[in-house]
């Protein structure tokens, strides 16, 4: 296992470097935006004098680099600082928000990943016949619609007309699991529809690619059935590309939920980030941005490692 440990260590080091670059980029971009937190708090009518006072108080007058390195030093010691606008500890806010976002992403993933792979396998088994075309058609339609559109359509039918699920996905720690699940039913449905097509099509393409191999013919000539051939001989060799696309979609479930969280007023990271951007609350934006980047990088490292582990040439060297 030694070479794999080394590889994981390398990837993690590279990931840390990437994260540093991402934080600098996010900081630079928020600096480049017109206006700042003081302006946002005091509004358009603020006098130059009051603005200057507030900036002095918030420490916004110091050079950008100084502020960046201060923030970086904080983060390295586990301190994300406090929000500029409401003086709340960012770490505490992020912890509860992040757990909500992960809760939503977890259930969306739990449903969408097995479903996508199963649908992909069915599509391969009945390639170019009606089940394949039906699966492709429906999933492509759902990916082609903007997610806020899907969200509003679902709200219209299931919340407004049928009263099956709430249109505001508000959850709190006091709720029990079933109530929580009921509350997030619609956002989960939206997320599943958004990520399903991509994963299903990739599963289908990856397995079809493997199906061209000579060893598939060997399997067919052993008298195995179509599903046995796909599940035993094709799927194990298609895991690497499938895992990669699954991880990209997992990352999307965490990082890309902004729109869905806003539509359903869900108290997650996405909404938190949008609020912070509106208020020019740079420390919060930075914290959210860096966490999103970390999630993205970690999931990709995970995908890399899994694809390497599924390759017998790397797992069992000569």
């Amino acid at each position: 296992m030694h070479p794999i440990v080394k590889l994981v260590a390398q990837r993690l080091a590279l990931g840390a470097l990437l994260l540093l670059a991402a934080s600098a980029l996010i900081f630079g971009l928020t600096e480049a935006l017109p206006g700042d937190a003081a302006q946002a708090i005091l509004g358009q009518a603020a006098t130059a004098e009051s603005l200057a006072n507030l900036r002095e108080e918030m420490g916004l007058n110091r050079p950008a680099l100084t502020r960046y390195f201060e923030w970086l030093g904080g983060i390295l010691t586990g301190d994300m600082g406090v929000a500029l606008t409401n003086k709340l500890d960012i770490a505490t806010s992020v912890a509860s928000r992040m757990s909500n976002t992960l809760f939503l992403a977890f259930w969306a993933a739990l449903i969408s990943v097995p479903l996508a792979i199963l649908l992909g396998l069915i599509a391969v088994r009945y390639q170019n016949r009606w089940p394949d075309k039906a699966i492709s058609g429906v999933t492509l339609a759902s990916i082609s619609l903007p997610e806020f559109m899907i969200a509003y359509i679902l709200i219209f039918f299931f919340a407004v007309k049928l009263f099956w699920a709430p249109s505001f996905a508000n959850i709190s720690p006091s709720m029990d699991l079933l109530d929580k699940l009921h509350a997030i039913a619609l956002p989960v449905a939206v997320l599943v529809m958004v990520v399903l097509a991509h994963m299903m099509r990739m599963t289908r393409a990856a397995i079809l690619n493997v199906m061209q191999s000579a060893y598939i013919e060997t399997a067919e000539l052993k008298g195995l059935t179509g599903f046995q051939v796909i599940a035993r001989h094709a799927f194990p060799n298609a895991i690497a590309p499938i895992v990669n696309v699954v991880m990209i979609n997992m990352a999307y479930l965490v990082v890309g939920v902004v729109v869905v969280e806003v539509v359903f007023a869900y108290p997650g990271m996405g909404q938190y980030l949008v609020d912070a951007v509106v208020k020019r609350d740079v420390p919060v934006v930075l914290a959210c941005g860096v966490i999103f980047a970390a999630v993205y990088i970690l999931l990709n490292i995970f995908a890399d490692v899994v694809s390497i582990l599924t390759n017998p040439r790397l797992r069992h060297p000569k």
Binding site: T218, L221, K222, G223, N237, P312, R313, H316
Partner: protein, 545 residues
């Protein structure tokens, strides 16, 4: 019940083809073939590519590759016509009554699964054996087939064993379910000759021990003569001749069979070395970037103007690496290359246009060596423009000369590579290299991908052109028959070293070194009993030592 295991009557096979720029249409591949195979017998199916031999072999399992469909006739296995049964019955037949050994075991084993799981899969799935019994049987077969460490080799993954070993594992896979019939589809074609002998003997003994019947498909008559009781010669989907092995090999009736038996009609008188070699490879040692071992060790060879030096060896012997070093693609660690009275730069970047022009190359795969979107005229015309600046009528005249020289003619000027046969493609590549008026051409396995009769034509052409253009060939090949046919001098390579080097008559005359002896005695000869003879000799030798 009669002893007939497989009875084929009027077998017709077709396929849908999708030619570029045309409507898809159906073509016939096999036009009504009849044969019988008794239990425990071996029938050899022989022919060139496109003869339909693999297609017929797979039809005995009611299988069509890609868009191939069985369109008519009867295939009786164990007393029932398998073309009339449903897919469920066909599945019960595949992997149980009839099994298959493919040409490339490396591609036919699933890289993600252990060898043992794949070998026993059919036997267990078809409920012929319990898992435990199947594994025991597989280990017995591994031992019988001469695989090293038969008790544990099944725990390895396919990439962890060599090509020859994997081919034997594939034979074990086919024999494990105790089938009545095994289809061997070119099982030794991808192997080196010295490995081929072992695999061939293992297959032959396994057939004899288990009493299984076999269809043995190959393009190599000498190989099929060693293993089969009967031979059927196929050409373009038709039976040309069908008889017992002795008759086909020793008294072929049909003209085409006679040509197959007597292929390699070339007689080439060896030329004496000249005082000034055109190419002199001196003390070349080379290794690939990022590795820490040399693939060439102190190689020294000379090539004389207008002559042919054959570089012969098995895969991994370093012969293609030598070509890369001479062309400058792989700068050597040590040594120098003298060419046409000057010392060449070791690095490609340091070579002049004149160096490049005088040293041309022809490749094994003519297909991938040509731009599929350029016409033959553009392909051959490019060196005329590049090296000589020829334009217009002048260029056209030279193009026609070249096309005549390769026996294709002017009408091929506007054709695309896809419209040419394998042999024609290789001819175009020859013309392209000749267009540069080189002093020397490196021919890297240029006939290996071609059928024997076509290859023969290419070799004849190369020899004729050598006389006209006085060009020297460095001819890289693993095929000793080719070497005999065309060379003036020979370098036998083994593990990156020149094991034997000299004029053709010297190298091919005893006394031999051990490796050359092994190599020469491994080339299948077209006579009955050759395989047993060689194996017996080797056993005696190793007993004597």
């Amino acid at each position: 019940m009669s002893d007939t295991l497989l009875k084929v009557r009027g077998l017709k096979i077709g396929a849908t083809v999708y030619p570029p720029g045309e409507k898809p249409h159906d073509i016939d591949i096999v036009h009504g073939v009849d044969f019988d195979l008794e239990r425990g017998k071996v029938l050899g199916l022989i022919g060139e590519s496109g003869a339909g031999k693999s297609t017929i072999g797979l039809a005995s399992m009611a299988y069509g590759r890609g868009g191939v469909k069985i369109t008519g006739g009867e295939v009786w296995v164990n007393g029932r016509d398998i073309l009339k049964t449903g897919i469920k019955d066909i599945r019960k037949l595949r992997g149980a009554e009839v099994t298959y050994v493919s040409q490339s075991a490396a591609a036919s084993f699933n890289p993600a699964k252990k060898i043992m799981d794949q070998v026993i899969e059919a036997a267990v799935e078809q409920k012929k054996f319990s898992r435990k019994d199947a594994e025991q049987r597989a280990r017995t077969l591994f031992a019988k087939l001469g695989l090293p460490d038969p008790d544990n080799i099944g725990e390895r993954y396919p990439h962890q064993v060599s090509g020859g070993q994997l081919q034997r594992c594939m034979t074990a896979l086919a024999l494990c379910p105790e089938p009545d019939l095994v289809v061997f589809d070119e099982p030794t074609t991808a192997l080196d000759v010295t490995t081929q002998i072992d695999v061939l003997m293992a297959i032959k003994e396994a057939i004899a021990d288990t009493g299984v019947a076999a269809l043995y498909i190959t393009h190599d008559l000498a190989v099929v003569a060693q293993v089969s009781d009967d031979i059927m010669v196929l050409r373009m989907g038709n039976t040309i001749e069908y008889g017992d092995t002795d008759q086909i090999i020793n008294r072929p009736q049909d003209e085409y069979t006679q040509a197959l038996v007597s292929v390699r009609s070339i007689e080439h008188e060896e030329k004496a070395p000249t005082p000034e070699p055109v190419l002199s490879v001196k003390n070349i040692t080379a290794r690939y970037k990022g590795t820490n071992f040399d693939v060439l060790h102190n190689v020294n060879v000379d090539l004389h103007p207008g002559q042919t030096l054959a570089v012969v060896g098995e895969s991994g012997s370093g012969k293609s690496t030598l070509a890369r070093v001479i062309t400058g693609l792989l700068p050597p660690r040590d040594g120098q290359i003298d060419f046409a009275g000057r010392t060449l730069s070791n690095d490609l970047a340091g070579r002049s246009l004149e160096d490049l022009r005088e040293l041309q190359m022809i490749y094994q795969m003519a297909d991938t060596a040509m731009n599929p979107r350029q016409t033959v005229g553009t392909i051959i015309g490019r060196p005329l423009e590049f090296y000589f600046g020829l334009r217009g009528e002048e260029k056209r005249k030279r193009l026609i000369d070249l096309l005549d020289e390769i026996e294709l003619g002017e009408k091929f000027m506007d054709r695309y590579p896809a419209e040419l046969s394998g042999g024609q493609k290789q001819r175009v590549c020859i013309a392209r290299s000749l267009a540069a008026k080189p002093k020397m051409i490196i021919c890297d396995e240029v006939t290996s991908a071609l059928d024997p009769l076509v290859a023969d034509g290419i070799l004849k052409l190369l020899l004729d052109l050598q006389k006209i253009e006085n060009v020297a060939y460095l001819f890289i090949t693993h095929d000793l028959a080719t070497v005999r046919a065309i060379s003036d001098s020979i370098a036998v390579m083994y593990q990156g070293r020149v094991a034997r080097y000299g004029s053709k008559s010297e190298v091919l005359s005893p006394p031999f070194d051990d490796y050359t002896d092994l190599l020469l005695s491994s080339v299948p000869e077209m006579r009955l009993g050759w395989l047993e003879e060689v194996v017996a000799n080797r056993k005696m030798e190793s007993a004597g030592n």
